[in-house]
Symmetry: C2
Subunit: 328 residues, 2 copies
């Protein structure tokens, strides 16, 4: 069984909604009516030891931050502000009190940073550490969906890509040298351990009326942009030479002979915003991003058609929809 098969089965049996649901399964968050008030957003994510994190290099504090960040990022991707959270923690007989203290300090940092209320949860014993956070947020005006991209829109990302994937590469392949590498590649390592969601940018963009579609990059640009293309019934064309990366990302790729494009487009866990901007509004949007201490990098265009194409330096087009990009 694959994840998508299970979701397909659930959608087949369980998505007959009543009138309170504005948007169900299939976007960053579900959206439901707040009666007379603003709509609510809800998202949930589970991190399982050995699958989503490795305790041998993931410090407890950073894991606490990340467990919240991945959910906050979903709220940000619809232009919302996070409000209430619940956490369900499966701990094991090996879970130590000192570890737990640090983990909770990490959670608390994110809660205070984003003014979130932890209002409920569950703690259960199990064989593997597992963390499920459910987060509720509220949209300021209308939520921004994945289905709003139109031909002519410019595709933007909220920061340099591939940093988290590069950090993970170092932990997985050069663990022994990490002490000597950690200063040179600090941003990459930090991005893997405790990414920071782009809440202020998401909200500013949602308020601007210049945005078509938005989502966060969690599975890699090639996959996440394919969601926007599919939901909006358009094609996305990404220019290879426009993909923003950090200088230390480029250094790392040279040093270990990695294909930079592959890592930047196929690597996940970036938790940056990916959005389309109406033609002619680029300057306003870039100014808006700077006003909230964020960046907005144009990387491509929305056209008629379907799927995600990568346009190389010679003009050659490669279909990279829904997959980790393999460079030729």
């Amino acid at each position: 069984m694959r994840e998508l098969d299970i979701i397909g089965k659930i959608q087949q049996h369980l998505t007959a909604y009543n009138e309170k649901v504005i948007c169900g399964i299939g976007d960053d968050c579900a959206v439901f009516s707040g009666d007379n008030g603003r709509p609510w957003l809800i998202t949930t994510d589970t991190l399982v030891e050995g699958h989503h994190f490795d305790l041998s290099w993931h410090p407890a504090y950073e894991l606490g931050c990340k467990a919240m960040a991945v959910n906050i990022s979903d709220i940000a991707a619809m232009g919302g502000l996070p409000v209430h959270a619940t956490i369900s923690l499966t701990f094991t007989k090996d879970t130590e009190e000192a570890w737990l203290d640090e983990f909770i300090r990490g959670l608390a940092y994110m809660h205070h940073r984003y003014n979130i209320n932890l209002i409920g949860g569950d703690t259960v014993a199990g064989e593997r550490l597992s963390i499920t956070v459910t987060l509720l947020g509220q949209a300021h005006k209308e939520p921004v969906y994945r289905h709003g991209a139109m031909p002519g829109d410019i595709i933007y990302v909220g920061g340099p890509l591939g940093s988290a994937a590069a950090g993970l590469f170092l932990f997985q392949n050069h663990r022994d040298e990490i002490e000597t590498l950690k200063d040179e590649y600090a941003s990459l390592l930090r991005h893997h351990l405790a990414p920071m969601p782009q809440v202020e940018l998401g909200r500013a963009l949602a308020d601007s009326d210049y945005i078509g579609a938005m989502q966060d990059i969690s599975d890699g640009l090639a996959t996440d942009l394919a969601h926007i293309a599919k939901k909006s019934a358009v094609q996305a064309v990404v220019f290879e030479d426009k993909i923003p990366v950090l200088p230390e990302f480029t250094r790392l790729c040279k040093r270990y002979q990695l294909t930079a494009t592959e890592l930047a487009l196929g690597g996940g866990d970036d938790y940056l915003l990916l959005f389309t901007v109406r033609a002619g509004r680029e300057k306003e949007v870039e100014r808006l991003a700077r006003s909230v201490q964020a960046m907005a990098y144009p990387i491509g265009l929305i056209t008629e058609g379907s799927g995600v194409m990568l346009k190389g330096p010679t003009g050659n087009l490669t279909d990279i929809s829904f997959r980790g990009f393999e460079h030729e």
Copy 2:
């Protein structure tokens, strides 16, 4: 580490709430403001294979029902109606498609039965099957809390106690004979596999204004009533000869020489409502229960003091606060 220690640590660092939170951690659900509308209720529960269920006897359909039921019961215990759910499913390499189909059919049954929208979720691979449901509900009028019991109130339960614990006893100890036992003890087995939450009763009671405190029985009466006593700063006195049990429960205890009181008061997973009724309102409340096809059994009294006392047939008092009752 024990569960209570972890919750204590979380409360120490993470329960500074903003004005949107009406009630945080420490009741059946958290309660938060619905802006201009009715307050929202939220609850989350995780069921882990090997800890909360045993796949060798728990059919997938019934497990799907139970995963929803334990959460619905929390909403019912505050007098609310369930509205929206998310589910996070950790599946394993052994999870079969046929199993999943049945599990989802069970979820879907509960969703249709209670008009709940499944609006989001996450599916992840792991080593152990684990199910986390987060459920949102809305109170009709004011939610009913654990802290509202007053001296003079009569303690009620919404049905016969110990059925689920008795069913679990049969599965754990007489698995080989279950085919021959299953007709005689059908209600007990069913109560363990797929308890039905008392939503209609909870709502009718919450609307009545005759109720002091309410919660559901998930950890056994001795523990759950102790929560009400502690939160309300009162003592609860339970009359041993008033504890309602099913005839087949009594037969089972005789057959296997089990102490009925111990099993009825200390066994968990009943998911019946436990509530206190203002003195003089017993007849109205019993009539109300019958009007929604439920029962309401008076089992004791709220007095001044603290803790939970069991009053035996000779008038002897035993403190049973927060523990599986051990009969003398």
